[in-house]
């Protein structure tokens, strides 16, 4: 984790180099093939992970590197497709979706239901429960409670069921992309 930062702090160069990279993208404009290889993501990989090389991204001025880099980038594209099709990634993705899709459905329904009931059926909401507390108060505090509970559940699920697998995939993917672009930086 820290290495990614380290690279950027050391190798990020000045404002000049980083803006230069972006302006390059702007110039090419349309989806010519070059644009893809100027993508900041590729830059981050092309200069080598965790190896502060001090140049801050590739040097587009070197004409000889271009052909090699294109080939390498094509291979890097395949890496992502390959990883996406791998069983390990599909497992991480389905764990994420199996938790998030029902979670979002539940809290959005509960929230919209609450707002709609509050505005269309104030009589129901005014029904007393205990002392000064009525249905509306219970529902409002219930929203707070479910928000806290879902936050806790999500954080726990992500920590126990996703983090380790995602981290392994991250390093594997980065190793593969570096392999695919080998020797460029």
């Amino acid at each position: 984790m820290q290495s990614s930062n380290g690279r950027h702090r050391d190798g990020g160069g000045g404002s000049e180099s980083s803006s230069g990279r972006h302006e390059d993208q702007g110039e090419y404009g349309t989806a010519s093939r070059e644009v893809r290889y100027e993508d900041p993501w590729y830059d981050a990989l092309a200069s080598g992970w965790g190896e502060p090389d001090g140049t801050g991204g590739p040097a587009p001025a070197v004409p000889g590197a271009r052909a090699g880099r294109e080939e390498a980038a094509v291979r890097a594209r395949d890496v992502y497709l390959e990883v996406q099709r791998s069983a390990a990634f599909q497992e991480v993705r389905s764990r994420y979706r199996r938790f998030v899709v029902p979670g979002v459905a539940i809290f959005l329904t509960w929230y919209v239901g609450y707002v709609v009931t509050a505005t269309t059926a104030p009589g129901l909401m005014a029904r007393p429960v205990a002392g000064a507390v009525n249905v509306a108060m219970v529902a409002g505090l219930g929203q707070f409670l479910t928000t806290f509970l879902l936050t806790w559940a999500y954080a726990r699920h992500a920590r126990l069921r996703r983090d380790r697998a995602a981290l392994e995939l991250r390093w594997d993917t980065q190793e593969l992309t570096r392999g695919a672009r080998g020797g460029v930086s």
């Binding site: 803006s19 996406q84 991480v92 998030v100 505005t119 007393p128 507390v133 995602a166 995939l169």
Partner: protein, 530 residues
Amino acid sequence: MTGHHQTLALVLFSAFVAVTLGITTWVSRKRHGSAEEFYAGGRLFSPMENGFAIAGDYMSAASFLGVTGLIALFGYDGLLYVVGFLVAWLVVLFLVAELVRNCGRFTLADVIAARMTERPVRIAVGTSSVTVSVLYLVAQMVGAGSLVALLLGRTSEAAQAWTVIGVGALMVIYVSLGGMRATTWIQIVKAVLLLSGTVALTVLVLLHFHGDIDRLLFTAAERSGHGKAFLAPGLKYGGSWSARLDFISLGLALVLGTAGLPHILSRFYTVPTARAARRSAVWSIGLIGSFYLMTIVLGFGAAALVGPDAVRASNASGNTAVPLLALDLGGGAGSTGGTVLFAIVAAVAFATILAVVAGITLASSASVAHDLYATLRRPHARHRGEVAVARTAAVGIGVVAIALGLLARDMNVAFLVGLAFAVAASANLPVLLYSLFWRNFTTRGAVWAVYGGLVPALALVVLSPVVSGSPGALFPGVDFQYFPLQNPGIVSVPLGFLAGWLGTVTSDEVPDEARHAETEVRSLTGAGAV
């Protein structure tokens, strides 16, 4: 309000300004001047620090003063706002925080442009981000002007104008000199101040009622003159069907808008990993949730102790409920306790406004420099550093915000905030969710999603009773009101999603499978994240 309050409030506020300027100079002395440093503060903040900073960014004066005022005046209907503000964080946590941290660099447009043809997407998303930021900024500036003048007891037009100019100047200094690092520390200081102030007042209110919440609620209901109706929904948003629909529209905008606010999204880039982004969102939900629970107590406390009539007499929209409550809790006007508490609350309110305004200015200057300038500048123009452009943009945005803040001086602050949320939910959220989760999403879909949400949202506002055709309108003299609701969310949010879908199915562009794979793998694993 006597001179004592004001002197003490001014002293405390000057102390805050001095401390924050100190932070700014200290930080900018060590700055490296890189984009990484300016936009993302070096990306090395801890989740706890960032959680506090997010909370600081989010708990604006609109919630501290506006929502408590609404509760004090309308009882339960004020509470509905608070729930929307909080539940919105689940959208951020579940769908946005980690994924955006993993596949973006500095701005929202980074995430979307990675999959699409860069130029049109960056221009579209950059434009909508700047629009949202400027609306939000104007809301805070207007709030600052009226509030500060009111708290200082100088309600003259000139004092108000100078406050707006002063706030604008300070925020430009923070942002253009200190960048993200200074802004983050200012948010943290402000969040701690605001939370301590709120905790202290809440404890005092609860002590006053000997911890008996029932008695607090009953007293508030009795004092309000509405009886039990004060504790149930309907006082503000009951009545006509358009008022009720308006509230549902606002509720939708609040819950979906937070995940599209550029200054909230850019906060996730200040931590090193997606895991840290998640943990900072969890921290901020805890802090924001507790803060809003306390504002409910403060709102009902103000209704019970100060009384809605006194609140309304001081400020028609209730914005001064909390300062009045502080005065009352400290022993009333003229007492030392009252003076001190009032001054503290006033100073905290200043600090809140200043910090929020700085955060938004930074996010919008990032959009201008990183998205718009980098894309639109003439290819052979003189080469300028992006960070230099961002610093200049901060000054430009400051000037625009000051000018609009002076023009919109009399507009309702809560309305402007609701509008910013509605535009964020209509223009930014659909495109973000589509590009993160939809395999076949195309460039045309992305561009249509942004403009298809942005244009209707703004057009509906122009045609709404806020602008014309009603007594409180911006132009009460003319009538071109064709849309009955104040908040456009219920129409414009579905339109944004619809336009994105339409643009995608009608374009003949073949979605690039490899780039979708890349976005998906990156967003869930963090491979290649910066």
